[in-house]
Structure formats: structure tokens, C-alpha cells
């Protein structure tokens, strides 16, 4: 790219926040995957107006006068929705000053709320956006408690309004890690959970400002946060892997009937898939984990997702943190399609696999029909790909969020452009920008 073109590209990126107008567009003659779990539709059309999807599929009329994008040879999908990420909470993992993913010296736990700390200018947001990710949920890691605090639903647009929904869920860790945090055993973790919910219940029943019992162990903000979990107004995401631990979590609802549970991890979920399905508890997992990384996941297999889905469990692909980047979601999903061809293995159809990184995580996150899907009324998050989005050779060529075309430049693309040649004969590389 010439220097002029580089400057133009940089200016376009800089200018973007000031020109963030939703465009009315129609993408025509593309292969359309709507995210609903069905097979892709050839020669389809997607229409976006006023920042929302108006229509998507075959036989869709193109409104007169609307700006059209020729999708011939390309694919169109909803933006990817990646569940359980750390997007916007860090710049460099090992540089603690830049990393807000964990607060192990904080006096608070369940009250922690990621929303005010989120940074839309993080490179990880820009790089994930260039990979077709337009929405995500963000959660902190556990600090010194089984409760990690409250996560948010975000969009990845190049603007300041990043948080779609703050305090969207609470996260509690009840597996091996939870045992360690609780003082050394799962036994302690379950007592800590029950005590915390009891204190939340007591606090919620008190008149505003009234003193709590003197033996309260939780801070007041932590207990207040958990009251929202107890009455079901905030889902409780539970980190567990082992089959026995999953059963113990499902049993919580007999004691706390209003809990809205979501399992995170569930590496051995396939062993108890029918129970998870019967409890109508959804799962967010990282599918390709197939090693007994800990004793709590001895039965880990890449067929976990396929087997759970076959049993009727609603399963989303997620848990993208640190070096395991959200833009890998399509690769994870593609591998599940590969498994469907392997004797003895369980995978997903293409449509199911794509839904696991679009509509299903959106539903679990409370945005069913509104995000992760190309359906009338859904957010105008649209990605135009240069090929099958689950294939390794494909990448987004254009991304819209809420109908606004997004810049795809970032630190990586700027480095790429600078070093595409190694010519330093006239000036040092520092002048090449």
C-alpha cells in the first residue's frame, strides 16, 4: 500500500467515530447463513435499515434506491457472538497494570462489575472485530473468592458506547479452582455458596439501611449483588467441569428455585447430558479440549458438544480468554463440523456449528432473536466474508455493527503494512506510516 493510501486508511479509522451513521444497505447474491442453525442459503439477500436487519434469505426484494453491495462469491452472516471473553479488560496479559481481568487483593467479589472498566479502544476489540466478532459477553476471573463478580454484554463497534447490558450475569467457580478459592475443598466451596446466598436473602429482606446480623461474612455490596442472583433477575454462571460437580450444580435449584443457571466449562457434560437437558440449563464451553488437563476433566473429548447437543442441551462455544482469542471461534466451530465425518465421534452440522458461535450464545446471554441472527428486528450486525466463514482460509472483508460499517484496521494491520517490505534504504522504518 502506498504511503498516501496508508494515511487515508488511518484517517478513515480516526474519523470513524464522528461519522458513525447507520447505513441502509442490501447485500445481494451472497451465500447467506442466518445463524438460526439451518443450512446456508445460496444467492441470498440481506437488507439492513435503520441499524436493524429487515430481511434475510432467498427471494428477498431489494428496496428501491438502497445502497447495494454485491455479494457474489461471498458469504454473509450475522456478526459472531462470543460468550465468556475478557475483551476490553486487558492490553497485555503479563503486564499487570494493563490487565483488569482479576483482582485478587480486592475486599469485594460478587459486587465486582466489569462494565465501568471496559475499554473499547483495546487492540483486542479491534482485532476481534476484524475477525468478524461483533458481540460478546465479558467476565472477570476469580480473584480471592468463588465469586468472580458480574459480567457484561458488549458490542465491538468502533465507538464509545460499548456496554449493551451491564451486570448481565454473576460468575461462581465450583470446580477444582473453586475448591482452592474457598479454602481447600469442594465441601468448603458449597458451604461458601450457600452461606453467601443466605446472607443475600437476609439482606434483601431487611428495610433499607437496617443493620445486618453481626456474623455476616460478605461485604454489603457483595450480598446485594447476590440478591439479584437469588431472585433470578441475574443469571448465575457456574464454572464446573466434572460430571459429579455438574450434578451438584443442577441440584442447587431444589434449594434455590429461582436460580437461572448456566454451566461454563462442562468438559464432562456428555456424561450427564440428559440431566442437563432435562434441567433446561444451557452450557458455554470450549469444544476442542480433549485432554485430562485436571482430574475434573478426565472424560474430556472433542465430541462433548456434539453429544450434549444430540441430548437436547443448548450449547454455545465460548471461553475465549488470553491467548485463546475470540476470533478463533470460527475455527472451533469448523472443527465440530469435521467431527461429524469421523467414525464414532459426534459433531454438529454446519448450521448448528455456526449457530453455536452466533444465535445460541446470544440467546444464552439474553439477546435471543436480537443478536447473533439475521432476522427481522435483530441488530444490524452483518459480516461479509470472502468464503465459508468456518474455513481457515476465510476472513471478513466488511463488518457492520448496528448498520454502521466498521474499520478493520488495528495495531497488527499497521505493523503488517509497515513491514510488508523491508526497504530501509531511504529512511528508517519509523517514518513508514
Amino acid at each position: 500500500m502506498s504511503r498516501c493510501a496508508l494515511i487515508a486508511a488511518a484517517l478513515a479509522a480516526c474519523a470513524f467515530p464522528f461519522a458513525a451513521q447507520a447505513q441502509d444497505i442490501a447485500i445481494t447474491n451472497a451465500t447467506v447463513a442466518t445463524g438460526d442453525g439451518g443450512a446456508p442459503i445460496e444467492h441470498g439477500t440481506v437488507v439492513v435499515r435503520g441499524g436493524k436487519v429487515v430481511a434475510a434469505g432467498a427471494g428477498v426484494a431489494v428496496p428501491a434506491g438502497i445502497q447495494t453491495v454485491d455479494g457474489t462469491g461471498k458469504w454473509v452472516t450475522p456478526g459472531l457472538f462470543t460468550a465468556m471473553t475478557d475483551l476490553g479488560l486487558w492490553d497485555v496479559g503479563a503486564v499487570s497494570e494493563s490487565n483488569d481481568t482479576e483482582a485478587d487483593e480486592s475486599p469485594f467479589n460478587a459486587a465486582l462489575d466489569v462494565a465501568p472498566a471496559l475499554n473499547p479502544s483495546s487492540q483486542h476489540i479491534a482485532i476481534s472485530r476484524a475477525g468478524g466478532v461483533t458481540r460478546a459477553t465479558v467476565a472477570a476471573f476469580n480473584g480471592n473468592s468463588i465469586f468472580a463478580g458480574q459480567g457484561a454484554v458488549i458490542d465491538l463497534a468502533d465507538d464509545a458506547a460499548m456496554v449493551m447490558k451491564p451486570r448481565a450475569f454473576q460468575f461462581v467457580e465450583l470446580g477444582e479452582a473453586g475448591a482452592k478459592l474457598a479454602g481447600g475443598s469442594r465441601v468448603a466451596a458449597h458451604v461458601a455458596l450457600r452461606n453467601a446466598l443466605r446472607e443475600a436473602k437476609e439482606l434483601a429482606a431487611l428495610p433499607a439501611g437496617a443493620a445486618r446480623q453481626s456474623d455476616a461474612m460478605l461485604t454489603r455490596p457483595d450480598a446485594m449483588a447476590l440478591a439479584r442472583v437469588l431472585d433470578g433477575s441475574e443469571p448465575l454462571y457456574v464454572g464446573v467441569e466434572r460430571a459429579a460437580d455438574i450434578r451438584a450444580v443442577l441440584a442447587l435449584r431444589s434449594e434455590f428455585p429461582k436460580l437461572k443457571l448456566v454451566l461454563v466449562g462442562a468438559a464432562e457434560g456428555w456424561l450427564v447430558a440428559s440431566e442437563i437437558a432435562a434441567a433446561h440449563v444451557p452450557v458455554i464451553t470450549m469444544p476442542l479440549r480433549d485432554l485430562p488437563a485436571q482430574f475434573e476433566m478426565l472424560a474430556a473429548t472433542q465430541s462433548n458438544v456434539g453429544r450434549m447437543a444430540k441430548a437436547g442441551v443448548k450449547v454455545a462455544i465460548g471461553m475465549f480468554t488470553g491467548g485463546n482469542q475470540p476470533r478463533y471461534a470460527s475455527q472451533q466451530a469448523g472443527n465440530l463440523v469435521a467431527l461429524a465425518r469421523l467414525p464414532g465421534a459426534a459433531g454438529l452440522t454446519w448450521g448448528e456449528a455456526f449457530a453455536a458461535i452466533s444465535s445460541v450464545p446470544a440467546e444464552i446471554s439474553g439477546f435471543g432473536g436480537k443478536a447473533g441472527v439475521l432476522a427481522p428486528g435483530a441488530v444490524g450486525d452483518v459480516v461479509l466474508w470472502d468464503g465459508d466463514p468456518l474455513e481457515l482460509s476465510s476472513a471478513p472483508v466488511e463488518v457492520w455493527i448496528d448498520g454502521v460499517e466498521q474499520p478493520l484496521e488495528n495495531h497488527q494491520t499497521r505493523l503488517r503494512d509497515r513491514y510488508k517490505d523491508l526497504d530501509k534504504s531511504v529512511l528508517p522504518k519509523a517514518y513508514d506510516w
Binding site: L271, L288, L291, P292, V337, A338, G344, S393
Partner: protein, 460 residues
């Protein structure tokens, strides 16, 4: 993520370089050898190939690992060796099992130049943490093979899902000099000796940058800075030379390894992320009289691809890891293709018990990033990034890493294009013995650890 040290690889020009340095600089170094009786290398390989049947793979797209591609090809192997590789007209001798591979793909066995399987096995419990002897910044005396647990279930996943037939196990990157690596055949065995690749050279794992200075700086110990890293390294090499010159010195395991490097018998695999730091290491190697075979985790190689080409040093890289530490902040997905385009050598490595199951996919991602900026590396060449080039780095390219007559019959039959996400290994042969078959549930290795556990023998 376990951020560990990197491995390296080397090219033909590098081999030449090693030989020259031996002649030019090691006259003194050889002094000590005069009094040494040649001893058999300790802990020798006991690996013997398993029985196989003469096999003909017929009708596949064949990538030979060295850039060659044959459509509708035929691959013949028998008695553990490749017999012939050719087109549809290649005659199949009597007595060969014929496997119809139409629509499928054949490559050399996949090789990972940077693995910690066995020395950081799963389950990842403290009792299994055997990869970093983080008690001194220089531990050239330790050997990775003495940490390898052959029952690591990770070996089985690498075989079945990744088509891995050989791999280098490295010590970690906590130390400037982490110890000797070991190269293994990916065959299940009760002992590490039963996995050792016969005749493979040793490498010394070195690490620059953040890890050593953090590990020792946090203990209030040298090195705590990058300049400390170099000072400790240089003094250690100087001491090793003095040891080589002193015929009366007591035997010293660490200095034996360093002397092996200075004599050109042991390769250097150098974990190094940043371009400026790699350039300094290249000069340190010249100062001390050794040669770096490959920089591992070299996320900034694209900035100095010309320097790396001129020095005959390979880059073992991930497709697109970045940002997890400061020295990885400038990682870009186009790294591999920009290195390749400059004419320097590229290896896709894993450093990860999951990543090793998908080196083919990582290579495909790197290839695709290049295509989007107009650098189109053919599939046949990209396959070399996880086969032949890795073999070169490990010093075993004369025996494996490519499909050539007479070489070890380390072969993967894929159920589709290995650069597609929809493809998996269908059958894997090591020295002509079929050790994995996706169509045969019993032809799937199960570690002792997994017997009687939930999921024993599962597809994984």
C-alpha cells in the same frame, strides 16, 4: 496458557555453518577430547519399529513435504521404508495392501519442533511439573528426556488428531539455558528410551527476554534485566571454553553440553520473541563461536526476515498468537508468510498440548493471512512448514519429514485437504506400522493413566 520456551530448526546452510565453526574455532576445543574415550551415548534409544504390511496408497493428492505435489498419486511403502512415490502409472508390486485414497490427501508425518509433552504432561498437577529446572538461570546439565513421562495422554491426542509422528521435547524457558532437548518418535512406550528417535542430535534450549529476567529478578538474583541475561550467557560460554581448554578439569555435565554446542554436535534452539533481541543473539553466537539453529516463538521475525535469511536461521512460530506478554505485542498473522517470502525458513510449532493437534490448521491460517496481502504460498510448500522444515530443525531430515524413497515410512492419510478445517487424519503410519486408524476403534493408543477412567478409549 503456558508460555514456555521455544524450539528451533535449521537449514542445510546451517549445517554447513556448524561444520565451518568446528574447523575454524574448535582446534582448542578439541583438546579436551583427546583424553576422552569415546563412550556410547548414555540412555540410548531402544526404539524398534513395529511390524507393518506393504502398503499402496492409491489415488490421493500427495504433498511430499518438500514443495512437491502429485495429483492422483501413488505412495508405496514396505518394511518401514518408503519404496516409491509417483503418479497413477506407478506399478503396485504384488503383495501390497491397496488402500483407495481417492479424494484424500497424503503427507509426511507431522513433526512438532517445540513440544513439552511428557515434561509438562496432563493432568497438569504440580507433581507433573517437570519442564523447568528453575533453580539457576543456566542449567545446561539437565536433559528433558529425564523428565518425560511416556504415559502422557497428550502423545495419543497428537497422533490421532494431529498426525504427529515425531516431536522435539524441550525444557521450559525459565532459564537462559534450560537444558538438552530430546527428539521422539510418537510411538507409545513404557520408557522414554523406547520413544527416542534413533540418532537424532541433541539441542540446547536457550531463552532470551522476559522469562529468565522475571524468574530470577523476582528472586533478587541475576539476571533481572535483559543486559543481565546477556552477561550471564556470555560468562557461561567463556567458562565453557576454559573448561574445554583444561584437560584436567573435573567432569561437568553442564559444560559437556556447552562444549557439545561449541563443537557443533548439539544444536541451539533459542526461544526469542523480539527482532532486536534476536539480532543481539546472532552477534553473541558469532562472538562465542556457535550457531543458532532456530529462533522459537519468533513473533517479530517478519521485521528481520532478511537478517534471518542471511544468517541461515529458521523461525519456529505460531500462526497468530500475540499480546499475552509484552514481547508478544507485535505478533501478526502474516509473520510466517513474510518470513517465507523473504526466503528464510519457517516452521509452524505448537508449544502447546492442544495446538500440537492442529499444526496443519495453524499453517493454513498463516497461509490465508498471506493470500490476503497478495503473498500466495502454494499448499505443497505450506505442508513443509509442519513436516520437512521441522525435520531440518531437529537434524533428522535425512530420515523423515518428506516422502522420498528410502526414508522412514512416517505417513499420514488425511480424509481431505490437510489445510481445511474439515479434515482429520484417517490413518497414521510410523516406520510403516499403522498406529492410528480412525475406522478402527482398537487402533487408538490408550495411556495407562486412562485405563478404567471415564472416557477410556473414546474418540477424544
Amino acid at each position: 496458557m503456558r508460555v514456555l520456551p521455544a524450539v528451533q530448526r535449521w537449514s542445510a546452510s546451517l549445517v554447513l555453518g556448524l561444520a565451518l565453526s568446528l574447523t575454524a574455532q574448535s582446534a582448542e576445543a578439541r583438546k579436551k577430547d583427546k583424553d576422552e574415550k569415546p563412550a556410547e551415548a548414555p540412555y540410548p534409544s531402544t526404539y524398534k519399529s513395529y511390524p507393518g504390511r506393504p502398503t499402496a496408497l492409491v489415488g490421493a493428492t500427495v504433498y511430499d513435504g518438500r514443495g512437491g505435489r502429485i495429483d492422483n498419486g501413488t505412495v508405496l511403502f514396505a518394511d518401514g521404508k518408503l519404496v516409491a512415490i509417483g503418479g497413477a502409472d506407478l506399478a503396485i508390486p504384488a503383495g501390497y495392501d491397496r488402500i483407495d485414497a481417492k479424494g484424500k490427501f497424503v503427507t509426511p508425518g507431522v513433526i512438532d519442533a517445540h513440544s513439552h509433552l511428557g515434561d509438562y504432561p496432563t493432568p497438569s498437577v504440580d507433581a507433573h511439573s517437570d519442564g523447568n529446572e528453575a533453580t539457576s538461570p543456566t542449567t545446561p546439565d539437565v536433559w528433558a528426556e529425564h523428565s518425560v513421562w511416556p504415559q502422557d495422554p497428550g502423545f495419543t491426542r497428537a497422533l490421532a488428531n494431529g498426525g504427529i509422528t515425531a516431536l522435539q521435547i524441550l525444557p521450559g524457558s525459565a532459564n537462559l539455558m534450560g537444558g538438552r532437548s530430546v527428539t521422539l518418535k510418537n510411538v507409545p512406550s513404557l520408557t522414554v528410551q523406547g520413544m527416542k528417535f534413533p540418532g537424532a542430535p541433541y539441542s540446547l534450549k536457550m531463552a532470551c527476554g522476559e522469562n529468565p529476567k522475571r524468574v530470577y529478578g523476582s528472586k533478587g538474583q541475576k539476571p533481572s534485566t535483559r543486559m543481565g541475561n546477556f552477561a550471564v550467557n556470555r560468562q557461561t560460554w567463556i567458562d565453557a571454553k576454559a573448561y574445554m581448554d583444561n584437560a584436567d578439569a573435573d567432569r561437568d555435565l553442564g559444560k559437556e553440553t556447552l562444549a557439545g554446542v561449541l563443537k557443533g554436535e548439539i544444536l541451539i534452539q533459542n526461544h526469542c520473541y523480539r527482532a532486536d533481541e534476536m539480532a543481539l543473539v546472532i552477534d553473541m553466537a558469532k562472538e562465542m563461536g556457535y550457531k543458532v539453529a532456530a529462533f522459537h516463538h519468533a513473533v517479530e521475525s517478519y521485521k528481520i526476515a532478511d537478517l534471518l535469511r542471511e544468517n541461515g536461521i529458521c523461525s519456529a512460530v505460531w500462526a497468530d498468537w500475540y499480546g499475552f506478554k509484552m514481547e508478544a505485542y507485535d505478533g501478526i498473522p502474516e509473520n510466517a508468510v513474510l518470513i517465507a517470502r523473504a526466503g528464510a525458513c519457517v516452521i509452524i510449532h505448537s508449544d502447546d498440548e492442544n495446538g500440537i493437534q492442529r499444526l496443519n490448521q495453524e499453517a493454513a491460517k498463516a497461509q490465508a493471512a498471506g493470500k490476503r496481502i497478495g503473498i500466495d504460498i502454494p499448499d505443497a510448500q505450506v505442508v513443509g512448514w509442519f513436516t520437512y522444515n521441522a525435520a531440518k530443525a531437529l537434524g533428522i531430515a535425512d530420515r523423515t519429514g518428506s516422502l522420498e524413497t528410502g526414508k522412514m515410512a512416517d505417513v499420514v492419510l488425511w480424509n481431505g485437504n490437510p489445510l481445511s478445517v474439515y479434515t482429520r487424519p484417517e490413518k497414521v503410519w510410523i516406520d510403516g506400522a499403522m498406529l492410528f486408524d480412525a475406522d478402527n476403534p482398537k487402533l487408538r493408543p490408550v495411556s495407562d493413566f486412562e485405563l478404567g477412567q471415564p472416557g477410556e478409549g473414546d474418540v477424544k
